[in-house]
Symmetry: C2
Amino acid sequence: MAGRTTYRDLADLAAHIRVASGKEPADLVIRNTSFLDVYTGRFLSGDVAVYRETIVGTQQRYEGLEVVDGRGAFLVPGFIDAHVHIESSLLTPERFQQAVLPSGTTTVIWDPHEIANVRGLEGLTWALEATEDLALDVFVMLSSCVPSTSPQRELETSGALLRAGDLALLQARSRVLGLAEMMNYPGLLAGEPDVLSKLFLFQDRRRDGHCPGLRGKDLNAYGAAGIHSCHESISKEEAEEKLQKGFHVLIREGSCAKDADALLPLLDDYSSAVIGLCSDDRNPADIAKEGHIGFIIDKALRGGHKPQNIFRAASFAAARAYGLDDRGAVAPGFLADVCLVRPKDGRTWTSGLAIEAVYKRGRPVDRAALAASAEAFASRPQPRWGSNMCLAPCRAEDFDVPVPAGASPHVAPARVQARVIGVRTRQIVTDALSASLPAAGGLVCMDLQQDILKIAVFERHRRTGHRAVGFVKGFGLRRGAIAASINHDSHNAIVVGADETVMAAALNHLIHIDGGIVVAQDEGTIDSLALPVGGLMCNRDPQEVAQALERLRALAQAMGCRLPEPFIQLSFLALPVVPSLKITDRGLVDVDRFQLVPAAY
Amino acid sequence: MAGRTTYRDLADLAAHIRVASGKEPADLVIRNTSFLDVYTGRFLSGDVAVYRETIVGTQQRYEGLEVVDGRGAFLVPGFIDAHVHIESSLLTPERFQQAVLPSGTTTVIWDPHEIANVRGLEGLTWALEATEDLALDVFVMLSSCVPSTSPQRELETSGALLRAGDLALLQARSRVLGLAEMMNYPGLLAGEPDVLSKLFLFQDRRRDGHCPGLRGKDLNAYGAAGIHSCHESISKEEAEEKLQKGFHVLIREGSCAKDADALLPLLDDYSSAVIGLCSDDRNPADIAKEGHIGFIIDKALRGGHKPQNIFRAASFAAARAYGLDDRGAVAPGFLADVCLVRPKDGRTWTSGLAIEAVYKRGRPVDRAALAASAEAFASRPQPRWGSNMCLAPCRAEDFDVPVPAGASPHVAPARVQARVIGVRTRQIVTDALSASLPAAGGLVCMDLQQDILKIAVFERHRRTGHRAVGFVKGFGLRRGAIAASINHDSHNAIVVGADETVMAAALNHLIHIDGGIVVAQDEGTIDSLALPVGGLMCNRDPQEVAQALERLRALAQAMGCRLPEPFIQLSFLALPVVPSLKITDRGLVDVDRFQLVPAAY
């Protein structure tokens, strides 16, 4: 990928030269635009001529088989999402492209971390195959931290374990750019052999970073180990230090983590060559409502940033950071990935971004065609992975929390002290709370008065029977239960609820639909979104999925839920590498001490 | 080369991490500097810690086995020469490094075009081998246009012919980055199969450009064919169009071609990410006197350019343009190629650049050690290429120009009309002049009154016996002769002189020393610089070579020569792809009509 355009053969190369020279007509000419030159930062005038997939001429006048009148719009390079987990869109790749291509994203760099945690090497292989013949260009970084914690610690049961040797099998596949976000920075700093092996294996490729809050010498060590990027900065100062230490800072605006406001002040003429944009995790409702990478551009423009800087970051800078030298500029020899855009009010960029049309490899992006192509995918053979939900149906009793043997319940009404996961709205860190809960019949009970609900995780990958039940505060549910097969990173089955019978019903329904998201109002009133691909994704119209998600969210809110993003927040409660108290299928995890702790004591 | 530092093994990686973390001392700490951050454009303070060949820490305080006090100097990334013909230094690579490393150049990208014209594939292979274990990092672009004109045209006899299939043999060698300057842009635009084959072969690698004056649709076609750079712009407008069309513009300041004044105005915060610097052809005297890439930086600083822009162009921008992602920044994980610099007057950059020290892969550049290492090279087995001068000794009669059969000499003194190459000072284009010359004994004579001398080219590669004699104006020689085995691109033997007997003596001496540069004052007073490697280069101390060159130049001037760079100008008189009238071993070439023409008519 060190080159520009690639040609099929000599005749193809000769044809590109002839068309560029004006000896033969172009396939497409886009006329009457101001197109961005990402080398000098100026908007230029003149035709942009496209032959097959490539821009072959700019500035001069061309004849074309098709001529598009840009009517004074601006033409900029297609946007690149420098770091995304497609799984977070709940959509399979062909549906993801249907959602994001029309919004201007023409290339994404995917870390298939979620499906890798569920299906391991098979999942990574599927990720490569499922993106093979999309219009959207999907490059892949191979997931570096599967599972999130070392298996020796037995803190969780993941669907898979990926060692350096596994990644080596896919290293040479086309579209693989390197090693995905190295989240295990403590392991890196401690020199853990598995981490070092992976870094070593990819030492002549890109190695993405993920190091929230890492500063000073630890950050130096992270860079000295060859990590070239980070998308996890939350303050300007942190991101500035990362830039100063040679990391490509990727400004992220996901559904949960939103860093653009904090980091955009770092963008200027100079840094726009090395700062990229990314979505990381973005749900289908947000993509439908706000767009994708265009949403960050819109924010920047409304914030008064120069268009030449934010558009360069969104394209050329990301392309160069990842060695994708065939894209990111509106110039001869570059892929014809371009967006026709305007200021929202037609006059000033501070009104925001309006996207009029998108061209991918020279072809107009057409919503109907994308939908039809995604439908066609649905009729293809699907991955033969067997069931996503390898666990037995459950009963209300499975959610019992016995009063611990050593505990001495107080006088009637008997009460027991319990650890409670304290959920913070829109954050993935939790508080390790403690509460006094009622006990009855030798069991510790929830307490809706205090908003203390039960939460449980059931292993779903290999019928180990592992399950754990604990308590959580912050959801606000007054009744019913929510269950899902999405929870980072092991993606076991998680259920939260105000009633054990309904929790069991929700979980059983989740098993019944073979994974997805379930909202049960009571034992008999259950709504759901099935996610048949790994229990994470589905091939359904993105708008439909967005609507289903919003409907489920509204249901949860009607049941009392106070969290604006209940499913995303739920999905991070089993991630034992983010403080402070989490729950996995093996039990409650005190993340600060990195060990299992009992729910009641 | 998509990565940062490379490690020898896991233990080496672990050691880098430990040192960067501050757990073990660094090999080298450079303290008390302002070091340039090429990501944000700021000069930062704090230590720069180096372990083995790599920068492992910046900003924080480190302990080091060796600590260097920068005493308030500035620390910038080592300079990259993005396009050089090392042969033009007259030095073998180990001597070239001795000349340029101390001046801050730590990486060069070599097109071994001259030795390739003399020795073909063998020459390219030698170029790779001769640069294998230098301190200086030498990357190689494989020469695309050997010989300069199609052999079918029989306009010249080169030492070699390189077809796409020949280049394919070296394509995968380490340090080969791609295809060198595609000078045959008319061939490219015409779709010549040999040109297209070479472009196609390197379509996933870098393909350098060389297209003086190319504009508009032709320039578009050049870019659409995948060319990514050009170092041949001579006006700001031309270079600006090239940038706007996605070419990396390399600002060149050679011994002959000097473009910095014209092109530096294009350098700003934005473009400093995509503009590189190069020397192309620079003789040893200029390197010794003015420096190398540092000379362009000095010019830019004196011209008021921001240091962060010119230093970024000289390092990071060039590195990224060529995919050398392990260098070009003072940051953890990047090679410890750094220069300690100051404003010349110690206060303001507009006083120019002073270089205090250079570190290559973490080791201080030491002139004595470089000299010793180059001496050691001299004792190695040299390329067994046989003689550089495969031609028979000549006599004065070989320089005869007979009065053409059809010519009708005027009345006594008889005169004949002749074509004369008009040399322009410091330019490689010539004028096609016509003059009336005296004739005697059936031969056309030179005319020192008009400064019209004889010039001859003798084939020297394969004993074809081809030779041609013509006339030239502009040297100003009143006596003696100059001969050389350097002349672009075929590098046959060329001789210019005011007397046929001395011309023969000069050429015979050139044969005697097996190639080089010869200045003959008369038959018996001959001085020379032998260039035993291909008749182009020598392994001798760069200062000595510079002095020899200056001594020969002074001799030529004492003989009446008016050209400040007589040897360089002479070396371009046989290049039949640069207008207007040139001479090769096959005859006088009318470049505008691309055909051989007689000297007298």
